[in-house]
């Protein structure tokens, strides 16, 4: 039997604490769209996506209405396009990006992710062409996201790809300099990329996934913060328990929405991604959770420990609430999308080096970080290499989404608006790492990857 306190608690979470379903993402395999002729492949891709996702947005809106829970984004992830475009030798991969954009417009989804290549061990046919086309593809499309996996715990780190991605990120910023350098905000460089991640910009539909499935990403930093707020004197064991209970409730909602969407669309339910995903809105910040735990400002000493505990408790609470957990699952720390992180950077407490340490204990990595426009390509590559090394050695996903703000320097702010927020330009070390990056080759996989 329902009791009034439970009902009011749920309503309060949604109304006052920004609880929402961040995304319903439909993963669609494009492996059956491969063709030696790029135009044929594009027609097949457009037809398949628009058929499979025909009712995705409508279904999301219906669920929102029925359960009274906002679903912020409806998205699609597809098979890494490099696998599809490789068959059509000599064709321009941007054609595929434009096809995805057309499909996104027809379906009315917020994003399509999967302009991607998996190159952790080396480049196969089509990979280099796709990577080199990324700046143009992200410039001529609006809702297409790209991701490149450059390393894994099993394969090591492809340093040729790391060096190349430094250039690509810089170029993406340059060609979109008149639009807040938006290009690289839609581009993620991964180590250990998950194949069922519903969150952008890194979503793609891995080759081992079913033909079509529904993945759900939940959110709710505000709910966790206000749960902690009620226990100012609890010790950390108690606090971990409180976070677990809250994460359980949030995830149950994701599970319900995913199951319902899967039933309505007749598509199997993949996973719930239990991430705490902040938005620039007041009360929706991961940094504020850490501060509520007892830090004066996010980024001070103790931040890594607090984040480690938060990340772990979120997972433990969420695991039991969901039939299948996947994706990134943990706390996100995108700087420009989190009001508390932005404040911490502006008051000089949060630096890239501290963020790097934080990425060793939370999901994802250096996310939505704005750096000076004159940063060298090698420095961007070296930042990627550092992150990939953390992911490779710790058997976890790490990623870099970094935005060189063309024409801007430290102290200025790049305004994106919307969910992407606004990013203060952060300082980077100006000492050269060019020789290291330009050596190329591969960093071998660590000893503990040899498990068989």
């Amino acid at each position: 039997m329902l009791n009034v306190y439970d009902v009011l608690e749920t309503i309060r979470m949604i109304q006052n604490e920004c609880l929402d379903i961040r995304t319903i993402t439909m993963g669609i395999s494009l492996l059956d769209c491969i063709s030696g002729d790029a135009d044929t492949a594009c027609t097949k891709i457009y037809d398949k996506i628009t058929k499979k996702a025909e009712n995705l947005v409508k279904c999301g809106e219906k669920i929102e209405k029925e359960y009274g829970i906002p679903i912020i984004n409806k998205r699609i992830s597809v098979t890494p396009i490099a696998m599809i475009s490789a068959a059509a030798k000599g064709a321009d991969p941007v054609k595929y990006a434009l096809t995805l954009q057309k499909a996104a417009d027809t379906c009315g989804v917020n994003f399509i992710g999967g302009y991607s290549a998996l190159v952790q061990k080396g480049f196969s046919a089509g990979d280099l062409e796709l990577i080199n086309s990324i700046p143009e593809a992200l410039s001529v499309t609006k809702n297409i996201c790209s991701s490149i996996n450059v390393g894994s715990s099993k394969a090591g780190i492809n340093m040729d790809a790391v060096a190349l991605m430094g250039k690509i990120i810089k170029q993406s910023a340059q060609v979109t300099a008149d639009r807040q350098c938006i290009g690289p905000a839609k581009l993620v460089v991964f180590c250990n990329a998950p194949e069922d991640n519903p969150f952008m910009a890194g979503a793609f539909h891995g080759p081992g996934e079913p033909d079509c499935e529904i993945n759900v990403g939940v959110s709710g930093p505000g709910v966790v913060r206000s749960a902690i707020e009620k226990y100012p004197d609890a010790d950390l064991s108690e606090l971990a328990n409180i976070i677990k209970k809250t994460a359980f409730k949030i995830t149950r909602m994701g599970q319900l929405v995913g199951a319902k969407a899967s039933e309505m669309l007749g598509v199997p339910f993949g996973i719930v991604d239990l991430s705490l995903a902040p938005t620039p809105a007041v009360g929706d910040s991961v940094a504020h959770i850490l501060e509520e735990m007892g830090l004066e400002t996010c980024g001070t000493h103790g931040t890594t420990a607090a984040l480690a505990m938060l990340n772990d408790a979120v997972k433990k609470g969420g695991v039991m609430a969901s039939s299948h957990v996947g994706g990134l699952s943990g706390a996100f720390i995108p700087v420009s999308e989190d009001a508390g992180m932005i404040d911490a950077v502006n008051n000089g407490t949060l630096s890239i080096t501290k963020l790097e340490a934080m990425t060793a204990v939370c999901s994802v990595g250096l996310d939505m970080i704005v750096v000076p426009g004159d940063i060298s390509e090698e420095t961007i590559s070296a930042i990627i290499a550092d992150e990939a090394a953390i992911g490779m050695v710790n058997n976890k996903t790490t990623a870099v989404r970094i935005i060189p703000a063309i024409g801007m320097s430290e102290g200025q702010t790049l305004e994106f608006g919307g969910l992407l927020g606004s990013g203060p330009v952060m300082s980077v070390c100006d000492k050269s790492c060019a020789k290291f990056i330009n050596r190329g080759g591969r960093i071998p996989a660590p000893m503990h990857s040899i498990k068989n």
Partner: protein, 89 residues
């Protein structure tokens, strides 16, 4: 299949009547009502059976929201599954 209607706001005459009137209009049967008035704040939770409703669930939900705006109250109409899944194992 049941929905939960919650009403929170300043107390006035006829809130319950208006809300249950709309339920009747859509053929949604009221099965339980809990209500309290604390220092002028009206809080009500109503369970309604929506399996034999005469129209779409979203029509009822929109109508309730509109009534809430009209009376200056916060009215939420949500499927009971969301509460059951969040608070029951």
């Amino acid at each position: 299949m049941r929905a939960v209607v919650t009403v929170i706001g300043k107390d006035s005459v006829g809130i319950l009547a208006k809300v249950s009137g709309i339920c009747a209009e859509y053929n949604a049967n009221v099965t339980d009502v809990t209500q309290s008035v604390l220092q002028d704040v009206f809080a009500m939770m109503m369970l309604v059976d929506i399996s034999a409703m005469s129209s779409d669930f979203s029509a009822l939900s929109d109508r309730m929201t509109a009534l809430g705006e009209e009376l200056g109250l916060s009215i939420h109409t949500m499927h009971e599954d969301i509460f059951n899944s969040m608070h029951r194992i």
